[in-house]
């Protein structure tokens, strides 16, 4: 399953229920909105954070890292690439593999 977003994608955080996108000057990153603590769906916190309303965890939207417990693992990043033909950002619900050097 894939989801497409045009170039009108706003800067910062855009929330889409199952995942969210964070657009910065350089890139667009996609993360699952599943809390890494106990599996709740996280919602919007502030303009740059996400909030789990089940147990209180908070995550930094840009990096997906937890900024308040009980969660200690970062949010799962998923594949998000730019399709230069359609000029769209394509999000697949596949977990992004860690880049190794």
């Amino acid at each position: 399953m894939e989801y497409r977003h045009g170039q009108g994608l706003p800067m910062g955080l855009s929330y889409y229920e199952k995942y969210y996108l964070f657009r910065s000057d350089q890139s667009v990153r996609a993360f699952l909105t599943k809390c890494t603590h106990a599996g709740c769906r996280i919602g919007l916190g502030t303009a740059t954070t996400l909030q789990c309303n089940c147990h209180g965890s908070q995550f930094d939207a840009e990096t997906g890292k937890p900024i308040k417990g009980p969660a200690i693992k970062p949010l799962q990043e998923i594949e998000c690439s730019f399709d230069s033909k359609t000029k769209q950002w394509v999000v697949t619900m596949q977990v992004k593999l860690l880049e190794t050097t």
Binding site: P10, M11, H37, A38, G39, C40, G43, A47, N53, P70
Partner: protein, 898 residues
């Protein structure tokens, strides 16, 4: 005798038989409930049962309360046996194993029932259960998909709840007591008890969107434990450990058995305590909240809402997209709100709270918030996480909320603080001389003032949180509200006041017609001296507080049709989240943002940096490629502007849609070095209201008003104003930027502190304040208007005379006003003629009057202007390079010598 009979009646049977009676009622009511319940639209179908199906609602209550009783009495049954040590009577290991597993089935049956409501808490509970099961090694995924399903569908949970769980529980009961039929008398008593509870108390149902998520009451303790650990697996291990221990109890020796049971009992008591604490005091985002906060925001455990068995409402057609809330049973015809707040879609509860599933008026209106948007309830209404949380957070630091700058200056003149840059909050005012002064004269203008009744705010009813700007009653809405509040509402159309971002100037006027009076000035009005007769004025009007206004000259932006909100964005008005000290720090927009020379600072709609701007652009269907102006100060977008490919700036009025092209600053503004330090306002501000000779005294026995509490006071600070003028502003220097800026008398006053408290004495201050006059004109002031004008330079009103004697010139100044004995300066002066000012002489630490050197430089050009016209070639050259121009001067030119 009676007590004994009652006791005997209450002990009609054992906990085990009560539990089995409850199970039977639960199963039968469950079969009946399955008819109107639709797991594909679970929440909607349950809502519809509650709203439109009283019999279905009763069946649902029976199902819920019988399940609760079954759970409670099953636990009591276990406790009963344990306390009597009769568990050893069960010899068969198989039977004990089945009983142990029954606890697991019971837990699943209870939680799956909770999940099937499909409200926000139910949905999250399914996700947590799935996640916890998945974390079990090897079997995890299989168990998770078997018990919670795959994806977001409730189908598997529904099947397992109605089939597997129920069947297993009946098998266990049958295996345990060899029948599923309880005694007739016991069953009847239990049924009547449950029926009574079900008729009176509604089974809970939350909303689909809620930031307060609480599991079922018996799992709240587990939710708290999960909050306390970063590793949910520990909680699973703990539960498995307790079940394992329970299984082995009958096989322990007597001593170990007793010890284990005690440990289990203590664990149970501990669990009950944390359950109670979390149940009562955990709120939104699992944060600690007070009981009252949770009462409004959370789902209640025990909801008194008698089933209306004789309902006469025939709701046959329910619009597809209409929110399922009982409010709309009566208020579905409500009109007046914009599409963003359409009650048919978002319901009423999101703003007004109350009970969305109670069908009776008084029940539905319980805990209702009549006036949402006050800061006391903004977090629960306008500022919930899914709505405007960002704004309601940052507005708490806005100067319109804190009044920090006003308080800092007032406390400074009263000698209660030594810094003009301390930060304050109006809610923290005490009862010192300055605080009382503020309470009597200033503390009414802040957003935290509560709006307590419906209808448009009266002139002196300032504040009201979000309502201060965003709530507006049309005449029709006012009439509708009066009808609704009367006993004879009838079937007339209901019209809600509008809630929108179309904030008209009159919203600003009530507060900003005071102090700097920018709202009056912008529209061209000046407040007249007390006692002025209307007849003597060419054009006048009277404010609701009976102040008489005289028309002077309106700001050019007002003449063009622009409103306050066309320049001042939400970040100016509602704060940017930072704690600013004074208004000029908080205001973001500047003239140069729209009247730009050179490259325009712009941003495309698709790259807007903040959520709020993105939302507004989305609502307005703005072209993602279009560019808007970005303010140079804090890089905030001005969404009512657009920048075309030629870098021209256009501005559209937010209220009337009128389009304007915003012209760049004239070439003279940037020409040469002569005026490089001037702010736009220093030349283009036509006039500012100026008031001098003010005296403040505390009059014991003169009734007053505490604007903070809204209560009358026996004594009060009283202000005696002196003369007021509408003239060009005084110029001074912002020492932080070295820019020439406009100023006006801020705190030129004497204070009789002795009248408030003996021994405090009297004080006099001559503090000028920075001003943004809001009387901008396209044509700037003339050269003479600054260089030869004693008022502009800071000397006050009077005659500035240039005399030539031989080859030398000199300036003299004859003030119009008498010298004030406190500092020997004319009443209306900011600084002495060719004298260094004594500091402090302004309400800001970074504002000063012109130094003597600066006064001399200004007057040097002024001496040229006594002969040369300001628009002459030579003065134009002087603007480019004064030194060169002076070097070329003719013999006729006589320069000033000091």
């Amino acid at each position: 005798m009676v007590i004994q009979k009652l006791k005997k009646f209450l002990q009609f049977d054992t906990a085990g038989w009560i539990a089995s009676s409850s199970l039977l009622i639960c199963a039968v009511s469950g079969i009946l409930l399955a008819i109107p319940y639709d797991f594909t639209q679970a929440h909607q179908s349950v809502s519809e049962i509650l709203l439109y199906n009283p019999a279905g609602s009763l069946v649902r209550n029976l199902h819920y309360w019988s399940a609760q009783l079954f759970f409670i009495f099953s636990v009591l049954h276990v406790y009963d046996h344990m306390s009597k040590s009769t568990e050893t009577n069960i010899r068969s290991r198989r039977t004990w194993l089945i009983l142990t597993l029954a606890l697991v089935f019971l837990g699943y049956e209870m939680i799956s029932g909770f999940i099937l409501k499909d409200d926000a808490a139910g949905i999250q509970a399914r996700r947590i259960l799935a996640s916890l099961l998945e974390s079990i090694p090897f079997f995890g995924k299989l168990m998770s998909s078997a018990l919670t399903g795959v994806g977001e569908s409730s189908q598997i949970v529904y099947i397992q709840h109605v089939a597997m769980g129920t069947i297993l529980l009946f098998i266990v009961v049958f295996d345990h007591i060899k029948t599923i039929w309880p005694k007739r008398k016991s069953w009847l008593i239990v049924f009547l008890g449950i029926l009574a509870i079900s008729l009176l108390f509604r089974a809970p149902l939350g909303q689909t969107e809620s930031s307060q998520i609480k599991g079922p009451w018996f799992f709240i303790g587990i939710q708290e434990l999960l909050h306390l650990t970063s590793h949910p697996a520990y909680v699973i291990i703990l539960i498995l450990l307790l079940i394992t221990v329970f299984y082995f109890i009958p096989r322990f020796t007597k001593n170990y058995r007793t010890l284990t049971k005690r440990i289990l009992l203590i664990t149970g008591i501990f669990y009950l305590i944390i359950t109670m604490v979390a149940l009562l005091f955990r709120g939104e985002n699992w944060e600690w909240k007070s009981l009252s906060e949770n009462k409004l925001s959370g789902e209640q455990l025990l909801i008194f809402d008698p089933v209306n068995l004789f309902s006469s409402k025939n709701t046959t057609v329910i619009p597809e997209n209409q929110k399922r809330e009982s409010c709309l049973l009566c208020h579905a015809s409500m009109k007046g709100l914009s599409e963003s707040h359409n009650p048919s879609v978002m319901g009423c509860v999101a703003c007004h709270k109350g009970d969305p599933y109670a069908t009776g008026k008084s029940m539905a209106h319980r805990n209702m918030i009549l006036v949402p948007g006050n800061f006391s309830n903004a977090q629960l209404t306008c500022g919930t996480q899914n709505c405007h949380a960002d704004i309601t957070n940052r507005i708490q630091k806005s100067l319109m909320t804190t009044q920090s700058g006003i308080i800092a200056v007032d406390k400074f003149v009263f000698g209660e603080t030594t810094s003009l840059n301390d930060t304050f909050h109006v809610q923290n005012l005490g009862h010192s001389a300055a605080d009382t002064h503020l309470r009597n004269l200033c503390a009414g203008c802040h957003l935290g003032n509560e709006k307590l009744k419906t209808g448009n705010a009266e002139w002196l009813e300032r504040g009201g949180g979000c309502n201060a700007c965003h709530l507006h009653y049309s005449d029709e809405a006012t009439a509708s509200m009066k009808r609704m509040q009367s006993k004879y509402a009838g079937e007339a159309e209901e019209i809600h006041p509008t809630i929108d971002i179309q904030v008209s100037n009159d919203r600003c006027l009530s507060c900003h017609s005071r102090s700097g009076r920018i709202s009056l000035s912008y529209e061209g009005w000046k407040e007249t001296d007390e006692g002025t007769e209307l007849k003597s004025l060419a054009k006048s009007k009277i404010l609701p507080d009976e102040r008489v206004l005289e028309f002077v000259q309106a700001d050019v932006h007002h003449q063009k049709g622009m409103s306050c909100i066309d320049c001042h964005t939400s970040y100016d008005l509602m704060g940017d989240g930072k704690q600013h000290t004074h208004k000029e720090d908080a205001v973001n927009v500047q003239c140069v943002d729209c009247h730009t020379t050179g490259k325009v600072n712009s941003i495309s709609i698709s790259s807007l940096p903040d959520k709020e701007s993105q939302m507004i652009a989305w609502l307005r269907k703005s072209d993602p490629k279009a560019k808007v102006v970005l303010t140079s100060k804090n890089q905030h977008p001005l969404l009512n502007t657009r920048v075309d490919s030629l870098d021209r700036i256009f501005l559209t009025d937010k209220l009337n849609g009128k389009d304007h092209e915003s012209k760049p600053a004239a070439s003279v503004c940037t020409k040469g070095k002569g005026h490089s330090r001037l702010s736009c306002e220093s030349c283009h501000t036509a006039w500012v209201p100026q008031c001098i000779g003010c005296h403040n005294t505390f009059e014991k026995g003169t009734p007053g008003f505490d604007l903070l509490t809204g209560k009358t006071t026996k004594s009060s600070w009283v202000e005696f104003v002196g003369n007021s003028f509408a003239e060009s502003p005084v110029l001074g220097v912002n020492s932080a930027t070295n820019q020439v800026v406009t100023a006006m008398p801020g705190m030129v006053l004497s204070i009789d502190k002795e009248s408030f408290e003996k021994g405090k004495g009297k004080s006099f201050h001559r503090l000028y304040a920075p001003t943004s006059g809001h009387t901008t004109q396209r044509e700037s002031r003339s050269c003479k208007y600054c260089h030869n004008n004693p008022l502009a330079i800071g000397f006050g009103r009077g005659e500035l005379i240039y005399s030539v004697a031989g080859n030398t010139g000199s300036w003299t100044f004859e003030p119009h006003f008498e010298l004030n004995p406190n500092d020997n300066l004319p009443e209306d002066a900011w600084t002495g003629f060719l004298k260094e000012a004594k500091t402090p002489n302004s309400t800001r630490s970074n504002l000063r009057s012109f130094s003597v050197a600066e006064q001399k430089r200004i007057l040097e050009v002024g001496s040229c202007l006594t002969c040369h016209d300001g628009k002459s070639k030579v003065m134009d050259q002087a603007l480019e390079n004064l030194a060169q121009t002076l070097a070329r001067r003719s013999k006729k030119c006589v320069l000033v010598e000091y």
